[in-house]
């Protein structure tokens, strides 16, 4: 129990670091870190440039903070709306059934079946390379809500048959009350796992687009930072501060989010009275 709460604390601490890095620090940046040739190129880390400078003469630390801000925005924005829409659509489909189920399932199937990356690539051509991060996020939501929806629906289907739901139904509770009191707490930990996953899917998809040069490359995101670093052979050129900082940031960010999610699910388990020792 204590160990699990410690996980939550560590996770929150990591997340707090990223919120400071991406949410607060950019407002104190002495420069727009996206500008090129503002500093000498390829400086190693120093007191003046905490993470050195890039081959394009940008300060890597401030670049990273801008990139974190944009990537967090994409990840959280997409995950929040995709999970929200997905969970409610899936539960509605599973519990209400009938026509609602058919329509939602069909819609979900369409978005699952159409591969999203080619569509994103097409859209960025369609918009003549002006695909903003917001637009990329919206497309990602469009392609990510069916996942929780499908899974929620099948959980709902199997749960409809379960004892505690039937008990509640026989005791006269309405559908909404059943949802709120019995189902939501039950699926909360799963929804959190899904949320974390969607954050990562969103960030990974954006960086996937970036690696083939199709994201909004003038914006700094963790993906485009990696793109520019790879374009300038930072990996083979051993410029670790440049290529390494966004990679380490992505890894840490995920670990932080994951610890939070397991922490929350164990808390909810405790609350239901099945404290996992």
């Amino acid at each position: 129990m204590g160990a699990l709460n410690r996980r939550l604390k560590i996770g929150l601490a990591i997340l707090a670091v990223f919120i400071i890095l991406g949410g607060i620090l950019p407002f104190f940046s002495p420069e727009d870190p996206r500008d090129w040739i503002r500093h000498p190129r390829n400086l190693p880390p120093s007191a003046e440039h905490l993470l050195g400078t890039t081959n394009l003469g940008q300060d890597t630390f401030w670049l990273l903070s801008y990139a974190t801000q944009n990537s967090l925005f994409i990840g959280l924005f997409v995950a929040f709306f995709a999970t929200l829409i997905g969970v409610f659509a899936g539960l509605a489909a599973g519990f209400i059934g009938g026509i609602t189920d058919r329509v939602i399932t069909l819609l979900a199937d369409v978005f699952i079946v159409v591969p999203s990356l080619p569509i994103l690539i097409l859209m960025s051509s369609l918009l003549q390379g002006r695909a903003s991060l917001l637009l990329i996020s919206i497309v990602l939501i469009l392609f990510n809500w069916p996942w929780p929806a499908r899974q929620m629906r099948s959980i709902a289907l199997s749960m409809r048959e379960r004892q505690f739901v039937n008990t509640a139904r026989f005791s006269g509770s309405g559908t909404f009350t059943i949802l709120a009191e019995e189902i939501v707490p039950h699926i909360f930990s799963w929804a959190m796992a899904n949320f974390v996953n969607t954050v990562l899917v969103a960030i990974a998809t954006e960086s996937g687009l970036a690696v083939i040069g199709l994201s909004s490359l003038e914006e700094a995101t963790l993906g485009t930072t990696i793109y520019w670093a790879l374009q300038h052979q930072a990996l083979l050129g051993r410029r670790w501060w440049w290529i390494g900082s966004p990679v380490v940031a992505i890894i840490l960010l995920f670990i932080g989010l994951f610890l939070i999610s397991t922490g929350i699910s164990s808390l909810s388990a405790e609350r239901r009275g099945h404290g996992d020792a």
Partner: protein, 633 residues
């Protein structure tokens, strides 16, 4: 914590792995992956990636990929180019075309004696006549439309002599039916094979052709193509002109991303590179002591690629229809910072409409340098800065670059004759005179709206132009204009260009490999090509309507290349071009086209300059006799 120690292990692994990576791993392979002896197989970087239709080798079909060895080694043309001397020479033809009348509508063409197809049959004028008829009668060929505008009829005189009668005057027939840049579409195929086939659908695999190599094996996935030297190489034009090709086999190979190509080069699995980035060159140089760029030392890159890079404007739209606005943009640009951001300063500047390749640099840029220095606006302001070469050399020396020449003349040869001053004050004055206003550090157009410039740029291809776009936008933002870069895939990039649906763009409408580049200047700038915006332009995509420039081009049109007035008139064109400033050429193209000399002698370099490093041009076949296996290899 476990994850922390795992991370430590991971980073240690990475560190040790890159430490090892820096050591040159020379793998002494006896055989190539395709089973040929490594020591006699020249491995060439396949430009343009994997080819999904590898056995489509019909040279006239639209979707046949010519640059993976086909036009370099298998097909040949009537007239070729030598970029080292800046002259064309007869290839399959025995001589340059001989005009039979004064208006250049009838020519005698003779073929080289003793040439044979790769199956041993002789190459005669019957084949040439067959090719002309076939192309004219196969409208499915993209080339058909063009040839039918040129050729009216022919008369076969004997096996080696043919007379071509044209529909229009062609003072430069060797440009029209021969190579000026890259290659030419008129690639002869043998009559005795093709007369039994439907040319529109014939795959032609394996091809029987006239070049010194034959295509002997292909990867079904299109990652490699193997070519074998013809035993009867004496019966090819290459053999007759230059002698026996050195490599027994030539393997064109697509290794994938730049990292892989570099690793392949470090492992001696790639002898000849097409384009790589300056950063990649640094790594290759560290990793393989036998890697050699065009220059032995700084600046390494070759500056003779036949197109120059810069920024074009939508000249028919406001505010770009105003010559003073275009000039102001030149003065608002800090060319040194653009050069440093683009390719770390490894570039040769060009203020003219033709690229600064060596033969053209000597014929136009350097002779015009004094004129440009003296050139002044109506108000007496002299915009030219002749000190670019000296200044950039000083900046690079400060960054620790060694091995640069000392004297100004050599620096000018290297970095160019100079460019326009970086003078934001003068640019501000010029814009304000045109009604533009500067409010809170941001420029507004005469109608009061904020001035936004969108620069089209290639995304992930043509890296130099891509980086240049970002660097210029960065510059102009500092000047107070809201400039952004719009990256585009190839299709979008070019259709916007041709349709004129752009504001500004990082394109390269300044090409040429020979002093007489009238044909290209005419295509880029003559007003008769202009069509309304939204329609694809046959030329002059910038839609620049200038009577003065078009007039000079009309004067040059009827003159053959060696006419004494041709060069002076082209110089007049350049002067008028500077006055009107229809686009902002900035740099010649810097190509990092290194070679690995582990197995080979005689690969072309700056100090062995028999030909430029154009492995993707059809002239690559003429490199072959110079390239010889290392005797101890």
């Amino acid at each position: 914590m476990n994850w922390r120690s795992s991370k430590l292990v991971l980073s240690l692994t990475l560190l040790s792995l890159f430490a090892m990576f820096s050591m040159a791993l020379v793998s002494a392979q006896e055989q190539t992956e395709v089973g040929t002896p490594r020591a006699t197989t020249l491995i060439v970087d396949q430009l343009g990636g994997r080819i999904n239709n590898p056995t489509q080798t019909n040279p006239y079909q639209a979707g046949t990929h010519m640059s993976a060895g086909l036009h370099q080694l298998v097909y040949s043309t009537l007239w070729e180019i030598n970029t080292a001397t800046g002259e064309q020479f007869p290839a399959l033809a025995a001589e340059m075309p001989e005009a039979l009348n004064d208006d250049y509508t009838s020519f005698r063409v003779t073929l080289r004696d003793g040439l044979r197809w790769s199956d041993g049959e002789p190459i005669t004028t019957a084949d040439m006549a067959f090719n002309i008829d076939m192309i004219l009668n196969t409208p499915e060929f993209p080339y058909s439309g063009f040839l039918s505008q040129v050729i009216d009829n022919y008369e076969v005189v004997d096996d080696l002599t043919i007379i071509l009668n044209l529909k229009r005057s062609e003072p430069r027939l060797a440009y029209t039916l021969g190579v000026h840049i890259w290659g030419d579409n008129f690639r002869m195929v043998p009559k005795h094979i093709w007369e039994n086939e439907d040319p529109a659908t014939f795959q032609n695999y394996p091809p029987v052709a006239s070049g010194p190599y034959t295509m002997t094996d292909v990867d079904p996935n299109g990652n490699w193509f193997l070519y074998t030297k013809r035993e009867d190489w004496q019966h090819t034009d290459v053999g007759q002109i230059f002698g026996e090709p050195g490599p027994e086999y030539v393997l064109f190979r697509f290794y994938g991303t730049e990292e892989r190509r570099i690793i392949a080069g470090i492992q001696n699995q790639l002898d000849i590179f097409t384009d790589i980035s300056p950063e990649a060159w640094d790594i290759l140089r560290d990793g393989n002591p036998n890697a050699r760029a065009w220059h032995e030392n700084f600046p390494w890159a070759n500056f003779d690629d036949p197109c120059e890079r810069g920024i074009i404007f939508a000249n028919s739209q406001e505010p770009w229809d105003n010559q003073n606005v275009r000039w102001a943009m030149a003065l608002a640009t800090d060319i040194k910072s653009v050069g440093l951001a683009t390719f770390a300063g490894i570039l040769r500047v060009s203020p003219l409409a033709v690229p600064p390749v060596q033969v053209i640099h000597d014929a136009f840029h350097k002779p015009m340098r004094d004129w440009m220095t003296e050139f002044a606006f109506e108000d007496g302001y002299q915009p030219f800065d002749p000190n670019y070469a000296v200044d950039i050399a000083a900046i690079l020396a400060e960054q620790g670059i060694e091995g640069m020449p000392e004297d100004e003349e050599a620096l000018v040869d290297l970095f160019g004759v100079g460019w326009w001053k970086h003078d934001p004050a003068k640019a501000t004055e010029m814009l304000q005179a045109e009604g533009f206003t500067l409010q809170d550090g941001a420029w507004h157009k005469p109608d009061g709206s904020p001035w936004q410039i969108t620069i089209n740029s290639p995304s992930n291809f043509e890296v130099q132009s891509q980086r240049l776009a970002f660097a210029v936008a960065d510059n102009w933002r500092d000047f107070g204009i809201d400039a952004t870069v719009q990256q585009m895939d190839g299709g979008t990039f070019w259709s916007n260009y041709n349709n004129g649906t752009f504001d500004a763009g990082s394109y390269w409408p300044g090409c040429g490999a020979l002093p007489d580049s009238w044909d290209l200047l005419d295509a880029f700038w003559h007003k008769r090509h202009i069509v309304p915006i939204g329609q694809p332009a046959p030329g002059n995509a910038m839609r620049y309507d200038s009577d003065a420039l078009s007039g000079i081009l009309d004067q040059i049109a009827p003159l053959p290349s060696d006419h004494p007035d041709t060069i002076p008139l082209l110089t007049e064109f350049e002067k008028q071009f500077i006055v009107e400033r229809p686009w902002l050429p900035m740099f010649g193209t810097s190509k990092f086209v290194p070679v690995v000399t582990t197995y080979w002698d005689g690969l072309p370099t700056a100090d062995n300059f028999y030909e430029g490093p154009w492995w993707w041009w059809s002239l690559f076949k003429y490199h072959m006799p110079f390239i010889q296996p290392k005797s101890d290899g």
